[in-house]
Symmetry: C2
Subunit: 429 residues, 2 copies
């Protein structure tokens, strides 16, 4: 039995279709209140990239009942914390406050689910804020620029190839009408998940949720999330960004692989274990070979973004030692991946990887917000509460053969290699 299975988590729906999850945690008299919408940057309409993220900013701009900033000011006044984030597949808002303020948070959040007001006076300056955010985060950072170019090359067609924040020239055109059209389409009770974690009981949450969110009329079906599928691209793709500002060169490979939502049973769990065996710390294959033995890298790792609605990404990266070329390091990574496709990983390594993954999940449960985020992100990307509960068992069931098959899913024809370098290569002239 795992800690996840032990938690008496409640899951129900309001009459208007809004999903509610209650995660009890009575160690301190606080609650984490989150609303997750099942729409993210990958649902941005064509030519309107950045609208999911822009609306997240605008959600703080007030309603008929509460002016701009009033909700945030109230959270601060209560000594609480708040935040919001936009990802490929979801957008979420959260507050962490003393338990007695949960009802007030729900009233505010339910109010802005349906009563947002936007004027040009508020929208236009906020758009400048987002444009500046983009300039700071992406345009001034060669590594971020490379990531944008790599994603854009990797996904020929699927919107995971677009930056979450949007392309600058499209952000610059977003206006009040775009924001409100998007808001009306996606900010509906059927499309939302309420997660309450903390010092509160299920029946109390149910009563508060019915009195607040429950008053919002159902809209009918949840909004459609129609995204184009990726075609098979056979060619190998190398994206190089050379910039004098680069201090540490790097090689990265990003592969398109199944996600928890698109994989055959067991595949995603095996990819998770593979990422750990390949690149999860100092005992991993990449680290041992490239850093310790061959001494051609100063760091190396791998990770798997399994929580995604559509086919997702598996990342491998390495930072070359001062005397090693990116090409040589890249070839060594390729050889290691080939090796993994046939390797009999020692039983001890496999057990350690699985134990570590399950332990990480248990440690995450020790943090109320991490726990709420885990549930919210999973539910927004196609998993059920039962899937989340059974995850540790599914990880434990991964066999050495499953890991080899997972390595075989790393198909170079569904990958892009990225080089970040301070020097212009001759071919880049």
């Amino acid at each position: 039995m795992t800690a996840a299975a032990a938690a008496p988590i409640a899951d129900f729906h309001l009459a208007n279709g809004m999903q509610v999850v209650v995660i009890p945690d009575h160690r301190a008299p606080v609650v984490t209140h989150m609303v997750w919408y099942r729409n993210g940057s990958a649902d941005d309409p064509l030519g309107k990239s950045g609208i999911a993220h822009f609306l997240e900013h605008l959600m703080f701009k007030g309603t008929h009942a509460h002016g701009p900033g009033v909700f945030s000011d109230r959270v601060a006044e209560l000594g609480g914390q708040e935040n919001a984030f936009t990802a490929n597949d979801y957008t979420a808002y959260f507050q962490r406050v003393a338990r007695e303020h949960l009802g007030e948070m729900m009233r505010f959040e339910a109010d802005r689910m349906t009563n947002l007001t936007l004027s040009d006076e508020v929208v236009t300056p906020e758009r400048d804020v987002v444009l500046e955010e983009r300039r700071m985060r992406t345009d001034a950072d060669p590594a971020a620029q490379l990531q944008e170019a790599v994603h854009s090359a990797l996904f020929a067609h699927h919107p995971y190839g677009l930056p979450v924040i949007g392309w600058e020239h499209e952000i610059a055109t977003l206006d009040r009408h775009d924001a409100l059209a998007y808001y009306r389409r996606f900010y509906t009770p059927e499309n939302a998940v309420l997660i309450v974690a903390g010092d509160v009981g299920t029946e109390e949450v149910r009563a508060l949720a019915e009195a607040t969110y429950g008053a919002i009329p159902a809209r009918g079906e949840p909004p459609e999330r129609a995204r184009p599928k990726e075609p098979p691209i056979r060619a190998h793709r190398l994206v190089t960004l050379a910039d004098a500002k680069v201090e540490q060169p790097s090689v990265s490979r990003i592969y398109i692989t199944p996600s928890y939502n698109t994989a055959k049973p067991g595949e995603a769990e095996a990819l998770e274990v593979l990422a750990h065996l390949l690149g999860g710390g100092a005992t991993s294959l990449l680290y041992k070979r490239l850093v310790m033995e061959q001494k051609i890298a100063v760091a190396a790792g791998a990770y798997y973004l399994g929580g995604a609605l559509d086919d997702t990404r598996f990342f491998i990266y390495a930072l070359p030692a001062p005397d090693c070329s990116l090409e040589k390091l890249d070839a060594a990574i390729g050889a290691l991946i080939d090796e993994a496709k046939h390797k009999d990983f020692p039983a001890g390594d496999l057990e350690r990887a699985k134990t570590r993954l399950v332990a990480d999940a248990i440690y995450a449960q020790d943090n109320q917000t991490s726990m709420a985020r885990w549930y919210g992100a999973s539910l927004a990307t196609g998993s059920s509460i039962a899937d989340i509960r059974a995850w540790p068992e599914r990880i434990e069931a991964v066999t050495p053969d499953d890991v080899r098959k997972a390595a075989a899913l790393l198909d170079s024809r569904r990958s892009v290699t990225g080089y970040l370098t301070p020097e212009e290569t001759p071919a880049a002239a």
Copy 2:
């Protein structure tokens, strides 16, 4: 004065908004009858790639009045020729027949502009025909696969990155409803251009057009062509396709540049001249340097796809000599492009290039179908009759400085390099 300016071409609109162009050519008693629709693969709705091309096939499947194939059979019976084609920005249908049959062609073509009937019995097998066409042309040909991958990497966002024929998995989902929805949206008189070239007078064409196309009710505005713009991608992108079937390796570079429709005045003409100077035959810079002097290539060339609604493509390619690596050849191409940015092309070379371009246009006018295609393609991509007529003068006006500025438009950050090779490179593992 040029031959283009000399032709007494008539241009008018029917009351329903359909544009008509009449190009007299009385050398033989034949006419070329073309209808161009201002929609192509770049207007395919998201997730429905291939629909423009698929509908082109389905346009031969009959109307209420004429069953499947009746129009084509009639053209054959009259000893005529017919064809249809789909490109990024337009779809066109044409027949070439004896002059006395022009009215009948117009009746058939006007009929299928508005009365197309489609049953599943007809649509489903035709979809298999298109899928087979795709397999033959693309999936079996490494060079075509590389082109798809290069275009997909070059255009992060704009639909010029999608193959005209569509992605296989999307073609496979296209049905009668998709085809009819697309047909109703785009096949309207406001969106069409009728080109008649041949042994016929303007007033005769006007009378026939009014009696046939003119009977189709106006729909109001032409359909919107809203396409996302490209973001600036800073990274250099290399796409490599290795396949044992490759007999002749190659290096290609494709740059995004302005088109005639998006360029500042004179830029597109200068790109046209630059393409000729760089890669238009055995006297071009690429050929002289890479093939004749350095002997590292067996062929090399360049061309500019200026006729496009949006920012377009400038192509450079070279086939390596047997002992030359793709990397070495690629670096030599890069050096030549850099050279062109500062080069004082000899006045004689510039004059020869311009004379040749204008002469090619005059020779094209000697062929009725080429002439009709030139006008149709230009009018469907944003040019006017006046633009077409003035083109030779605008080419003549290109200066050496214009050519250098055009070379500076070849920005490696808006380019993709493609390698076609019989061998797997180590990095592709």
